[in-house]
C-alpha cells in the first residue's frame, strides 16, 4: 500500500480491477505477501500450515455440518465388465466414493466447509463465491447451516439469454439453499462483478482456491485410504480424480500423503474440450460439459495463479502422477453404465474420473485397487438426457460409434462397446515446461535466485536441472 486513497465510488472496469489487491486482502483476511520469497517463489507449505487448519480440526468442522464419511462402494458389475475386456490377470477392482451423499450433493461441500466456518469465526456476515459449478450450492448449503448470507456469481447465459442446463440447475440449487444468485453472460469480467460485490457487501471471499478450500478436500483423501485399508488391508494402488481447477487433485493428494499413502498413484482425468474457447459467446453453449474439462484443467495446471486469489492453494502439477483425457461421449456412456448396472444415478461431470478408471483398470492387475474419488448428484438439467438434448438443439451431432471420432463442439460419439472407452495421456513433461514458461512470461523475470529454482522444481515435481534447463532456454539467468 502506498497510502494513496482510492476512490471506491469509481466502478469502471479498470478502477475496480486496480483495487483488486486491497479488496482481496479485506475479503480473505489473509496477507499473502508474508509468504512471498524470491522473485517468483512463495512458501506454499508455510501458507497451507499457517492459514488452514489441521486434518483433525477439519474433521471436526466438517462433522458439525454433516460432511464426509461417505460410502466407498465397490463397483462389482463394472469391475466384471472391465475384466471381460482385459487381458488375463488384468482388470483392477474399481471402487467409488459416493460423495453425492454430502449435504449439497458433491465433494464441494468439503471445500466450502472450512471457508464458511472461517468466515463466521472472523465475524463476516456473509460469503461470496464466483462459480458456475457444484461449489455454489456447497457454499450456499454450508452458509445456510452456519447462518451466514451467501451470494453466488455464475456465468450462465450466452448473448441469446440461453443458459447451459447444467449451470441453470446449479443456480436453482443455490436458490434452494437461500443464496442470492447473480447470473451473468459469458466473459472473464465475471471477476469484476465479483470484486464489486465483495467491495459492496464486505463479505468473505469463499474462493475455491484459498488454503481453506483446498485443506477441506484433504479429508476426502484420508477417508478413502482409511476405508480401503479397513476393507482390504492395504492402500489403494491408484486414485482417479476429475481435474478442472486443480483443487480436487491437490486436496485429495495431500490427504493421501498425510495418511501415509505415498505410493498411491494420483491420476487426473479431464474431459477433452480442445478447440473450444472458454470465453467465447458462441462456443459457450457448444460445450456439453461445464466443468471437469481441459478448458480449466490445462490452464490451471500450467499457471495456477490465474485464480481469484493472489496465490492459488490448488497446485495440481505438484501431485499428479499421470494426466489423461476422455471424451464427452465416453463420460455420458459410463454415466449410463453406472445407473444401469450399478444402480447409481449420479453425475455426469463427476463421472469423468470413472470413465478414466474404466480404461486404466484394464492395464492394472486383478488384485490391484483403483478408487474413483467422487460422485455428484444428478437432476433436471444436470443429466445425460438434458445435456445431450441441449447439445442437439445447439447443432452438436450426437451418434454412436468410435469415441475417437469425437470433436468437441461438433460431434459427441457414444461408444458402442465398453472396450472403446480409452484414455489419452497428456504429456506431463510438456505441461511442466509450460508452467515454467508461463511463470517467466507472467512475472517478466529475467533473473532468478536459487530458491526460485527449488520452488519451480517443487511446482513441477522435477529436478532442479530440469528447471535450470527450462529457464536457460527462456533466456533467464540464475543468480548465485
Amino acid at each position: 500500500m502506498n497510502g494513496e486513497v482510492r476512490d471506491r465510488s469509481d466502478h469502471s472496469y479498470q478502477a475496480v480491477m486496480a483495487r483488486r489487491p486491497e479488496i482481496m486482502l479485506r475479503s480473505v483476511g489473509l496477507d499473502y505477501n508474508k509468504f512471498a520469497r524470491g522473485k517468483i517463489s512463495f512458501d506454499y507449505e508455510g501458507m497451507m500450515r499457517d492459514a488452514a487448519y489441521s486434518l483433525d480440526e477439519i474433521e471436526r468442522i466438517q462433522s458439525e455440518t454433516n460432511i464426509g464419511n461417505t460410502p466407498l462402494i465397490e463397483l462389482k458389475n463394472i469391475t466384471e465388465i472391465v475384466r471381460r475386456i482385459s487381458p488375463r490377470g488384468k482388470g483392477a477392482r474399481i471402487l467409488i466414493k459416493d460423495e453425492a451423499c454430502n449435504p449439497s450433493g458433491s465433494f464441494k461441500a468439503r471445500r466450502a466447509s472450512v471457508s464458511v466456518y472461517h468466515a463466521k469465526k472472523l465475524g463476516y456476515k456473509g460469503v461470496i463465491s464466483a462459480t458456475s459449478g457444484n461449489y455454489g450450492a456447497a457454499v450456499a448449503s454450508q452458509a445456510a447451516i452456519r447462518g451466514l448470507k451467501c451470494i453466488v456469481v455464475q456465468e450462465v447465459h450466452d448473448s441469446r439469454g440461453l443458459g447451459q442446463p447444467e449451470i441453470v440447475e446449479k443456480g436453482r440449487a443455490c436458490e434452494a439453499y437461500g443464496a442470492e444468485v447473480v447470473q451473468l453472460t459469458v466473459g472473464p469480467e465475471l471477476f469484476y462483478v465479483f470484486l464489486r460485490l465483495l467491495e459492496e457487501t464486505g463479505y468473505f471471499n469463499a474462493s475455491l482456491y484459498t488454503p481453506f478450500g483446498i485443506a477441506g478436500i484433504e479429508t476426502l483423501g484420508s477417508e478413502l485410504v482409511a476405508q480401503v485399508r479397513e476393507r482390504f488391508g492395504k492402500d489403494p494402488d491408484a486414485v482417479c480424480v476429475t481435474h478442472a481447477g486443480g483443487g480436487n487433485v491437490t486436496g485429495t493428494a495431500r490427504g493421501l500423503i498425510k495418511t501415509g499413502a505415498t505410493r498411491t498413484k494420483v491420476i487426473g482425468v479431464s474431459v477433452d474440450l480442445s478447440g473450444l474457447h472458454m470465453a467465447s459467446d458462441r462456443d459457450f453453449n457448444r460445450k456439453s460439459f461445464t466443468t471437469g474439462h481441459t478448458g480449466f484443467g490445462i490452464p490451471f495446471a500450467t499457471w495456477p495463479d490465474r485464480a481469484d486469489v493472489p496465490r492459488n492453494a490448488a497446485r495440481p502439477l505438484r501431485y499428479m502422477d499421470r494426466y489423461v483425457t476422455v471424451t464427452q461421449g465416453e463420460v455420458f456412456y459410463v454415466t449410463e453404465m453406472l445407473a444401469q448396472i450399478e444402480g447409481l444415478e449420479r453425475g455426469p461431470a463427476g463421472n469423468t474420473s470413472l470413465a478414466g478408471a474404466i480404461a486404466i483398470a484394464r492395464d492394472m492387475d486383478r488384485d490391484q485397487i483403483l478408487v474413483v474419488q467422487e460422485t455428484e448428484y444428478t437432476g433436471a438439467g444436470k443429466h445425460p438426457t438434458a445435456q445431450l438434448t441441449f447439445a442437439r438443439e445447439n447443432g452438436v451431432e450426437v451418434r454412436r460409434g468410435d469415441p475417437r471420432e469425437n470433436v468437441p463442439g461438433k460431434a459427441i460419439v457414444i461408444p458402442e462397446h465398453p472396450s472403446q472407452v480409452t484414455v489419452k495421456d497428456f504429456d506431463l513433461t510438456e505441461t511442466r515446461n509450460s508452467l515454467i514458461r508461463n511463470t517467466v512470461n507472467n512475472t517478466g523475470v529475467k533473473e532468478v535466485a536459487p530458491e526460485d529454482v527449488r520452488f519451480l522444481a517443487e511446482e513441477t515435481r522435477e529436478t532442479e536441472a530440469f528447471v535450470v534447463d527450462g529457464l536457460t532456454r527462456l533466456g533467464v539467468t540464475i543468480r548465485g
Binding site: S12, Y13, N77, E80, I81, R84, I85, G126, K149, I151, H157, S159, G161, G163, P165, V168, E169, R172, E175, E180, V181, V182, Q183, L184, T185, G187, P188, E189, Y192, V193, E200, T201, H277, A279, S280, D281, R282, F332, Y333, E336, M337, A339, Q340, I341, A380, G381, H383, P384, T385, A386, Q387, L388, T389, F390, V398, R399, R400, I414, P418, S419
Partner: protein, 114 residues
C-alpha cells in the same frame, strides 16, 4: 390465491410490490469489455440477471428495484414475475437407450469377449 393459465405459463405481465421477480441489466457495454475477450464476445454486452422481491407495483419492461435474498437493493429492467425454473431432463436419447441392455447382456453372457 391462484394463478391464471397465462400466469402459470410464466407470462405474468404485472408485478405487485413484494412479488418474487427477475430483473435484467447491462453491466458492461461492448466497448467497456475486458481487452482479452474473444471477438464474438466483444461484440455483445456483459449482461446480468438477478431475482428478488420487487419494491413497487410495476409492468414487465419497466425499471424497478428489488431486494435480493441477502437484502441488497438492485435496480434493473423487470423481465419476469415469479419466474419458473424451466430446465428439465430433456428428451430420451436414442443413442443411450440400449446401453443398459447391452451391458446387462454382457454380464449375463459369461466368458471373455476379449
Amino acid at each position: 390465491m391462484g394463478f391464471s393459465a397465462a400466469e402459470t405459463a410464466g407470462k405474468i405481465e404485472r408485478a405487485k410490490k413484494g412479488d418474487w421477480v427477475q430483473v435484467y441489466g447491462v453491466v458492461l457495454k461492448p466497448e467497456e469489455r475486458a481487452p482479452q475477450v474473444p471477438e464474438d464476445t466483444h461484440k455483445v454486452p456483459l449482461e446480468m440477471r438477478i431475482k428478488g422481491f420487487i419494491q413497487q407495483d410495476a409492468q414487465v419492461g419497466e425499471e424497478v428495484t428489488i431486494e435480493t435474498l441477502t437484502g441488497r437493493l438492485v435496480s434493473g429492467k423487470l423481465v419476469a414475475v415469479n419466474p419458473a425454473h424451466e430446465h428439465d431432463f430433456g428428451r430420451p436419447v436414442p443413442e443411450l437407450a440400449k446401453v443398459g441392455l447391452e451391458l446387462r447382456a454382457m454380464l449375463q453372457g459369461g466368458g471373455d469377449e476379449a
